[in-house]
């Protein structure tokens, strides 16, 4: 490992764009070896997920199944368990993602494009909130929502009240995720808005446009690329949440997909093929987002 490292660092100094050579071959070998290591859990999971019966325990885990034992049955078993919770996850993740991104964009506008003293205090507080471990708020969160009594309010809504009340946990999750998503969204949008040119905004203000029009007509349309980044980041975060859902959701009908996957793993202890299929199904939306928007995903990770 250390040999490979010193060899490669030398290459960088000699020329950042060197011709093909032994070093180049070595470099690709190392990169490919690491890539294989990174793919092992996923590939062996995939292979395991298409082996029927107990074949996953009797064949090598990273080798494709023989035609005799190849089956998609673990996938259909897992999907029948996870289907409803996938819908629940979507019902939470989609509105919470959009809301937190919108709030973040508005807040970042108020904290960069309107210059007032002390905005750094607000921004510093928000930055701190990005990194707060959720455990520090779980007890008040549970107690707070039970005191609010959202369910009793939802029941009062005519016609659909009862149906909504059964979904109280999901509403609580939407609000909670929106609140916890706002800080990171604001920070992401803020760094983007700091680079936006002020001249158009000032021109609009001189023409007498109120701030909300400046925001809606000029800033919002310019924010589309950043919305892509933020929506992808937030969707992944909220879809992948486990802890907050674990604390807020009581009835299995409302379980989100991470909770249902955990329950599946608990009830099918030794059925590793079903567990692997379930893991892929639960990860599918974020995997698809990642494959389709890898560039924006990377941006959200680094900003």
């Amino acid at each position: 490992m250390s040999n490979a490292q010193s060899g490669s660092t030398q290459e960088t100094t000699e020329s950042r764009f060197e011709q093909l050579g032994y070093r180049r071959v070595g470099l690709y070998a190392v990169l490919a070896a690491v890539a294989v290591l990174f793919l092992v859990p996923l590939v062996s999971g995939l292979m395991t997920s298409i082996k029927g019966g107990n074949a996953f325990a009797t064949t090598l885990p990273f080798v494709p199944p023989s035609p005799a034992v190849a089956t998609l049955e673990p996938w259909s078993t897992a999907f029948s368990r996870l289907g409803r919770s996938m819908v629940n996850s979507a019902l939470v993740a989609i509105p919470a993602t959009i809301l937190s991104a919108l709030f973040g964009s508005m807040m970042a506008f108020g904290l960069t494009k309107i210059d007032w003293r002390g905005q750094l205090v607000v921004v510093t507080l928000l930055l701190a909130a990005v990194f707060i471990p959720y455990q520090a708020v779980l007890v008040p969160l549970r107690q707070g929502w039970s005191m609010v009594g959202l369910e009793a309010t939802l029941v009062l809504i005519p016609v659909v009240g009862d149906a909504l009340a059964e979904r109280t946990g999901l509403f609580e999750l939407i609000v909670t995720h929106t609140a916890y998503g706002i800080p990171i969204c604001t920070i992401l949008f803020r760094s983007y808005y700091q680079k936006l040119n002020d001249e158009i905004l000032e021109a609009a203000r001189l023409d007498g446009a109120p701030e909300r029009r400046v925001y809606r007509r000029i800033v919002l349309p310019l924010s589309v690329p950043m919305f892509a980044v933020t929506l992808i980041y937030q969707f992944t975060q909220i879809w992948n949440d486990f802890l907050i859902a674990l604390v807020l959701l009581n009835s299995p009908e409302n379980f989100v997909v991470t909770m249902e996957l955990n329950a599946l793993a608990g009830s099918m202890q030794s059925m590793y093929n079903v567990q692997m299929a379930g893991a892929f199904i639960a990860a599918l939306p974020t995997l698809l987002v990642y494959i389709a928007f890898g560039e924006q995903f990377a941006k959200g990770a680094t900003v």
Binding site: P133, V137, Q143, A265, T302
Partner: protein, 371 residues
């Protein structure tokens, strides 16, 4: 005091721009390093004056009522005041964050001072530090703190190392560079729950991927029971977390490396620096900001490793060798025999740990004018 503030508000309304305050235009903020120190000193004065702005807002409202004769121009002044104009944009969101984050943490602290077990309402009249004293004497707490520390430090250091190594390799024209990057970053898109399910299979003692691979190459004798053996329980978590997040470190380092101008390499080479020296003296120091940022993110991820441990060890009882503060907190507060005050106290320790990691970072960002 109030008169002065009102006067200042009116002044700013008259002139149309804020003559009384330093013109901290965003173009000034974007200016190059030369203006940084000036910028920094200015922003610290802004910090101090924030209370003043808030006070001016409320006091103006009060004088507004008592002095109806001037309300027209005062309303105008308010309308023109930039702080007032910015409020509708950030206040609603900030109120939500304040309630769910700062308020909740304050409340959590208050609960940790009671002896509440979770039934009915906590008794806020008998407040003491007893829970914390109890905590200090609890061997389970000391053990969980130690495990948290080991997990946090080992995971952060190794993930940063792997990430830096990959970033140095990738920092050149590489065929399939995007392909490699996609693969390295892929695990980061997965949830801890999904990662835990995959790695439970990797670590399975008899049929799992790692031990079968060991047997295949003839090392079956040393194949351990990864998830059962106390010596490996915590490291099983660390390895999986490294798998999930070293791609993130690579991306952070890669964009930092690409930001270093080529002539730094040239200059060092003209000076006859060896490769090792070049990296030790020139390149690595320039990655300090990236390292700091990534360290904070990773350490906080480590504090959140709850999800992974909870799922891979089938609940909140992973055994002493993999018990971390996050798990202990959940067990105390939400398991069959809840002790909410005790759980809240553990949560406060977690929060203070996170703050100890974040505060220096936020402070450094602030001083560099990067906020």
């Amino acid at each position: 005091m109030i008169e002065r503030l009102v006067q200042r508000l009116r002044q700013s309304a008259d002139s149309g721009t804020d003559s009384s305050r330093a013109p901290r235009s965003s173009s000034g903020r974007r200016a190059d390093g030369g203006e940084r120190s000036e910028d920094g000193s200015r922003s610290s004065s802004e910090l101090r004056s924030d209370g003043g702005v808030n006070a001016s807002e409320s006091s103006v409202n009060r004088s507004d009522e008592s002095d109806p004769g001037q309300s027209g121009s005062l309303l105008e002044a308010l309308r023109r005041n930039k702080f007032v104009r910015s409020l509708p944009f950030w206040l609603p969101g900030f109120a939500l964050v304040a309630a769910f984050v700062y308020g909740a943490i304050g409340w959590n602290f208050l609960i940790s001072l009671t002896d509440w077990e979770g039934l009915g309402e906590p008794d806020y009249t008998t407040i003491s530090l007893d829970t914390y004293l109890q905590l200090l004497q609890d061997p389970a707490f000391r053990n969980a703190t130690w495990n948290t520390f080991v997990l946090m430090v080992s995971f952060t250091v190794i993930a940063l190392g792997v990430g830096l190594f990959l970033a140095i390799l990738m920092d050149r024209e590489i065929r399939f560079g995007n392909g490699f990057r996609t693969i390295y970053l892929l695990p980061m898109s997965l949830s801890f729950v999904v990662t835990a399910i995959f790695w439970k299979w990797m670590y399975n003692a008899s049929d799992g991927v790692i031990n079968v691979a060991l047997q295949t190459v003839g090392l079956g004798a040393i194949a351990p029971d990864w998830l059962g053996d106390p010596r490996f329980k915590l490291w099983a978590v660390v390895i999986a977390l490294i798998w999930q997040f070293s791609g993130y470190c690579m991306i952070v380092y890669l964009s930092a490396l690409r930001a270093i101008p080529d002539d730094h390499y040239e200059a060092a080479r003209v000076d006859g620096a060896t490769t090792l020296r070049l990296y030790r003296r020139v390149i690595i120091p320039q990655l300090r900001a990236a390292t700091m940022g990534a360290t904070v993110v990773l350490m906080v991820f480590a504090l959140k490793a709850f999800d992974f441990i909870y799922v891979i060890y089938g609940g909140s009882q992973p055994g002493p060798s993999a018990d971390i503060l996050g798990i202990m907190m959940y067990r105390e507060a939400f398991s069959g025999n809840p002790e909410w005050a005790y759980g809240s106290a553990v949560a406060m320790v977690l929060f203070v740990l996170a703050l100890a990691v974040i505060a220096p970072y936020a402070f450094a960002q602030y001083r560099r004018g990067d906020l």
